[in-house]
């Protein structure tokens, strides 16, 4: 998957279609979209070509035509995007640094999380008592 990527509306629809029917050639894709939204075979052909160049589709030659198939499935693509987007602004070695700001370690395990939960519960009960008074 290329980093700098933007999808047009038709590209998105074609990709969604191929995620369902994988694989298909330009004529098959065109016949589906002709009924649903119109557009020429050339438009579909160039859309498939753009998606191929964006590394989202793969293709194999069958006779005179290319058969297109998605290189990544929908969940994999979304997972990869989430990973990229969230890592882009990640602070390096965050936990070891934040310890300098506070004496409390931020490296939490299950036990520490349970301790925090107990603290929250205690606070809840304190608030409940105060409101009952």
């Amino acid at each position: 998957m290329k980093n700098a990527m933007q999808l047009g509306e038709l590209e998105k629809q074609v990709l969604e279609y191929l995620w369902k029917v994988d694989p298909a050639d330009a004529k098959q894709v065109h016949s589906y979209f002709e009924k649903n939204r119109g557009g020429s075979l050339n438009t579909i052909q160039s859309t498939l070509d753009r998606l191929f160049k964006k590394d989202l589709l793969g293709r194999v030659k069958h006779g005179h035509a290319f058969q297109y198939f998605p290189k990544v499935d929908r969940h994999e693509l979304i997972g990869q995007l989430i990973k990229n987007v969230t890592n882009d602004f990640m602070v390096e070695d965050e936990n070891s640094v934040i310890a300098a700001f506070s004496s409390i370690s931020s490296d939490l395990d299950e036990q520490q999380l349970n301790k925090l939960e107990a603290m929250i519960e205690a606070q809840r009960q304190k608030l409940q008592k105060n409101s009952d008074k």
């Binding site: 933007q6 995007l81 882009d88 602004f89 934040i98 409390i104 939490l108 925090l116 603290m119 929250i120």
Partner: protein
């Protein structure tokens, strides 16, 4: 070698670069010694102080450039200071000199940082756009994305959007999702992705240790500000705190999955959970903005940078002749 107005401008830029370096060193040292005091201030004060730390070297450099310009050097008010801080032959600039070398190195480094961060920005912008196209709009600024990864985050520099995964929605209650959504919407309201990007740019000029602490402290402050944004009472605070702990548990369970080993996807809870929970539960009184201290520190920094430029100039020129 050039003479006249262009030479004056280039000499002033060299002065600015030297002042920037001096100010950055002093800010770094001061910050390192006072960083533990930041926790005694409110989140908004902490954010302001952090911005001040990263912007101070630029502002000081600008002031020192102005001071060394004919505008101030010819004024009688600052005559006493021009004894300590002056620039020899400001209307002559040698291209083959340390002046020109320091200027070129600074410009090259700044351009390098700018291009690096702009590339990150561009890539992030495109990926957020693609995520938006693949997601479903739930409400204004909020998109649901089909993924088993239990995640919620805000992305997009100029038009930030919140993304919540179906994996997270399935494993949390409607009330918890509301808390997570409000937290992410607070990031949208504060334009945090843009501010984070700008902060990344300005901190890039600091050394690795200082840079990491500055970025971590800013990230934590932004998360704490988002945690408390819609909190009106103590009851709501405890609800946000318990959601934080629950989502952290979900995320850490998910991180065990080999496919996502070492990844903690949920940004809603990724920044120092203990400190955020304690901040939500605590009703401690914070100190007011240290206006006096800040004004004195800036004046001192300006004075040190102005006088150091001249001293630095003399020290370098005892080693090199221009």
């Amino acid at each position: 070698m050039i003479y006249g107005q262009w030479a004056l401008a280039l000499n002033l830029f060299t002065v600015g670069v030297l002042a920037f370096i001096v100010a950055k060193v002093f800010v770094s040292i001061s910050f390192w010694f006072i960083k533990s005091k930041f926790q005694h201030y409110t989140v908004s004060t902490r954010k302001s102080l952090l911005w001040l730390c990263v912007l101070a070297p630029w502002l000081i450099a600008l002031c020192v450039m102005l001071f060394f310009s004919p505008l101030f050097q010819n004024g009688s008010v600052f005559v006493w200071l021009t004894e300590f801080a002056h620039w020899h032959h400001p209307d002559i600039f040698y291209f083959v000199s340390w002046h020109s070398a320091s200027l070129l190195i600074f410009i090259a480094f700044t351009l390098f940082i700018l291009i690096k961060k702009a590339t990150l920005l561009y890539r992030n912008h495109n990926q957020i756009n693609l995520l938006r196209e693949l997601g479903t709009e739930k409400s204004k600024h909020v998109y649901v994305i089909e993924s088993s990864i239990p995640t919620a985050f805000t992305g997009g520099i100029f038009k930030p959007l919140c993304f919540i995964s179906t994996g997270l929605i399935e494993q949390t209650s409607a009330n918890e999702i509301e808390i997570i959504t409000q937290h992410e919407l607070a990031h949208v309201h504060h334009l945090d992705p843009l501010k984070k990007w700008l902060f990344l740019f300005f901190t890039a000029f600091f050394t690795k240790n200082v840079k990491q602490v500055l970025r971590s402290m800013m990230s934590l402050s932004m998360e704490q500000a988002a945690d408390s944004f819609y909190v009106k009472n103590q009851q709501q605070s405890t609800n946000v705190a318990s959601t934080l702990v629950k989502v952290t548990k979900l995320a850490s369970n998910y991180a065990i999955h080999p496919q996502y080993k070492n990844e903690l996807f949920v940004h809603f809870c990724r920044h120092s959970i203990e400190q955020r929970v304690l901040h939500l539960l605590n009703d401690k009184k914070f100190r007011p903005f240290p206006m006096g201290g800040v004004v004195i520190a800036i004046l001192l920094l300006a004075l040190i940078s102005t006088t150091s430029v001249d001293s630095l100039h003399h020290v370098i020129e005892t080693l090199f002749t221009h």
